[in-house]
């Protein structure tokens, strides 16, 4: 699978030691994780295809190459835990609490159809198509409603678990943040608040090296972003964001720390934004980022990394690994045949639901500014 030179180099660097949590996973857990990586990837490439076909408008913010962060961080959560995803975490909305069964309606995550209805801007989206892309949420499913305002939901995440703790709960909240967004003042205020009150807030940094057109060295001046944690007196962990198991291990460590009452932490997941900031930016990104950097950043595809680990652990044969080769390919280079059929099927049903959902009535635009009942 190691096709490019950079990939081969990286492959050699890879150390596949399993951590405290991942070493307890079963073969079927591994298989499930891999399947989820495929699904997250498929979500991404399928939407691009839909847009190319003209079935879809609006900007797409791709999680391509960053799927291990979403999948690995969600895998060990309790159903009662909260999450606060942002623009690059779209699959998280429907992958939360996947362990309860992808199609289980009582699962503490959104249905894939709901999320697709959001992408399509239809009335069956969680917010009835009032705000776009990832700006949805569900208090019933314990997903904080995201907004455009970067880092703007971290205080709410702290508030949600503060309330939960008061009510005797043990919920943890994961907040997802691009590394660039952490320059926001409110990031500081919220993490500091969580530190003071030892709140179970796990701050995941998806350090994909770029914030739109700005490289990290113009955003902050540390090599490991996780060191930001030292400034709050809380733990800061670094995870290999391409390795779903390492993400799982580090996040679970942080979650355990949080759940035991020790407070917040930061988990930096090192990764790389494979394409443009959004799909509108793909062409420009090819100009403002050096090709070598991009090639190197894409080389360790999380699906490929997981396959290598599974082979090494004896959970997969080389032959099986060659079955669905979605890794290392852009949206235009893959077809449905590169994905496990259950993944294609699952998302297709969601899209089916979405396209059959109508637009909201115009009058809804004037509704729900206030709640009327007292």
């Amino acid at each position: 699978m190691a096709t490019t030179e950079a990939d081969q180099r990286k492959t050699k660097q890879e150390s596949f030691e399993l951590g405290a949590f991942s070493s307890k996973l079963s073969k079927s857990d591994f298989q499930e994780l891999l399947l989820q990586l495929y699904l997250a990837r498929y979500f991404d490439v399928r939407l691009i295809k839909e847009k190319k076909r003209g079935r879809l408008t609006g900007t797409l913010y791709s999680s391509h190459n960053q799927e291990a962060i979403i999948v690995g961080s969600l895998f060990g959560l309790k159903p009662t835990d909260w999450i606060s995803p942002i623009h690059r975490d779209m699959p998280a909305f429907f992958m939360k609490d996947f362990r309860a069964g992808w199609r289980n309606p009582d699962r503490m995550g959104m249905s894939v159809g709901t999320v697709c209805a959001q992408v399509w801007g239809r009335v069956d989206s969680p917010g009835r198509a009032r705000d776009n892309w990832s700006h949805i949420g569900s208090s019933a499913k314990r997903i904080i409603h995201s907004t455009s305002m970067l880092a703007g939901t971290i205080p709410a995440a702290a508030g949600v678990v503060y309330a939960d703790r008061l009510d005797g709960g043990d919920a943890v909240v994961l907040t997802y943040n691009g590394e660039g967004s952490t320059a926001q003042g409110v990031f500081h205020e919220a993490v500091n608040f969580a530190a003071v009150h030892k709140l179970p807030v796990v701050t995941i940094i998806e350090n994909n090296q770029w914030a739109y057109g700005t490289p990290t060295y113009l955003e902050f001046s540390m090599d490991d972003f996780a060191r930001r944690a030292d400034g709050y007196g809380i733990p800061g962990l670094v995870a290999d964001g391409q390795n779903v198991l390492d993400v799982y291990d580090k996040v679970m460590e942080a979650v355990a720390w949080a759940r035991s009452g020790k407070g917040p932490s930061i988990v930096e997941c090192k990764t790389f934004r494979a394409y443009g900031h959004g799909d509108h930016d793909d062409d420009r990104a090819a100009k403002y980022r050096p090709k070598e950097e991009v090639d190197e950043g894409r080389a360790r595809d999380p699906i490929a990394v997981m396959k290598r680990i599974m082979v090494a652990e004896g959970h997969m044969t080389q032959k099986e690994a060659a079955n669905w080769v979605a890794e290392g390919k852009g949206a235009s280079e893959v077809s449905n045949d590169d994905f496990p059929p259950e993944v294609v099927q699952y998302l297709s049903e969601g899209i089916e639901f979405a396209v059959n959902s109508p637009l909201p009535e115009a009058e809804e635009g004037g509704m729900w500014v206030y709640r009327e009942d007292n």
Binding site: D131, A163, F193
Partner: protein, 335 residues
């Protein structure tokens, strides 16, 4: 903290206190967060005794982080609490601005009614005390232009208590502009009712003085200036009706319309800078809805379009005063 002793006159600050203590008492989901509201009891003592009584979990001495304070409160509300946010001075709300207008105010709208944020944001506001640029503001217009927030501004102890209680009970975020110059003005003290009896509905104005010749619409501190101006007008032979709208959003337009039917003349008074202030909003609504009723130009008396300067001569120069209101009303009456 004594709650609603019958027969005793209480000041404005006590009205606020009683509202908070009663709501804390009756609903265990009520929480307070703000700077120095616990050990100190707040810069003005509005929450004195609250932390002792209800504990540090429900009364949070927050770091100096207005954005996080609002956002954390918003998250609490998202998860079943009713949060009261105290701004130490309403002027400092600017650093929590985004969390109010983009996060909190829009929540119900963008979730298509799924989530209502039952938050109260309150704090000492207004000039006339020599507080200068950053301890005198009336910045309610920023929020009136940000859909999803309700805004009230009580002028009496009973309204302070009743509107604040109503703000707690309302499922939406409500901002309470408290007039700090009235906090301890004993001459406006009055007997307060207890519990549900004390409630004052949001969105209802009140006629503070009846009159025939001109309608003066105002709120907050300026209610008293307008009442004095009405005295002056009387000696000039004009009788002014003074309306205290109390609630800006929602606004009781009918009470103004009713009055205009009688007086056909309108003066609107408030402390905020004139441009895009709430006085202009009232004028604009009435110019449309009551066009045929108006026999004279509707006139505003507001702060000049300046910050609030410190020393008395400067502050007086820029803020509305009894004289300025009297003059404006005379101009309108004699039009």
């Amino acid at each position: 903290m004594s709650v609603a002793e019958p027969g005793l006159k209480k000041n404005y600050l006590t009205g606020l206190k009683e509202a908070i203590f009663e709501e804390f008492e009756s609903d265990p989901n009520v929480i307070a967060i703000g700077e120095d509201i616990g050990f100190l009891g707040g810069a003005f003592g509005v929450t004195e005794g609250l932390k002792e009584k209800f504990g540090p979990d429900r009364v949070i001495d927050a770091p100096i982080s207005e954005a996080a304070i609002v956002g954390v409160a918003c998250g609490m509300c998202l998860n079943g609490k009713k949060a009261m946010v105290e701004m130490q001075f309403i002027d400092f709300i600017s650093t929590g601005f985004d969390q109010i207008v983009n996060m909190t105010a829009t929540y119900h709208y963008r979730t298509a009614g799924e989530v209502a944020i039952n938050m109260v944001i309150r704090g000492p506001a207004g000039g006339y005390g020599g507080g200068a640029l950053y301890h005198s503001q009336m910045n309610e217009a920023w929020f009136a232009n940000s859909p999803g927030l309700k805004i009230v501004c009580p002028s009496t102890p009973a309204d302070a208590k009743g509107l604040l209680k109503a703000a707690f009970r309302d499922p939406n975020p409500v901002m309470v502009y408290e007039m700090k110059e009235l906090y301890r003005q004993n001459k406006i003290s009055e007997v307060l009712k207890a519990n549900d009896e004390a409630l004052v509905p949001l969105g209802k104005g009140v006629v503070r003085r009846e009159g025939e010749d001109v309608t003066i619409v105002t709120y907050g501190n300026n209610v008293y200036h307008c009442l004095q101006a009405a005295d002056n007008l009387m000696s000039e032979g004009f009788s002014a009706e003074v309306i205290d709208i109390r609630s800006l959003v929602p606004l009781d337009e009918d009470i103004i319309l009713e009055s205009l039917k009688k007086t056909n003349r309108l003066v609107v008074v408030n402390e905020a800078p004139m441009t895009c202030g709430f006085a202009g909003e009232i004028v604009a609504r009435m110019s449309d809805r009551a066009f045929d009723l108006l026999d004279a130009p509707p006139v505003r008396v507001t702060r000049l379009d300046t910050p609030v300067p410190w020393v008395k001569p400067l502050e007086s120069f820029v803020l509305p005063s009894v004289n300025k209101i009297t003059e404006a009303a005379l101009r309108v009456c004699r039009y």
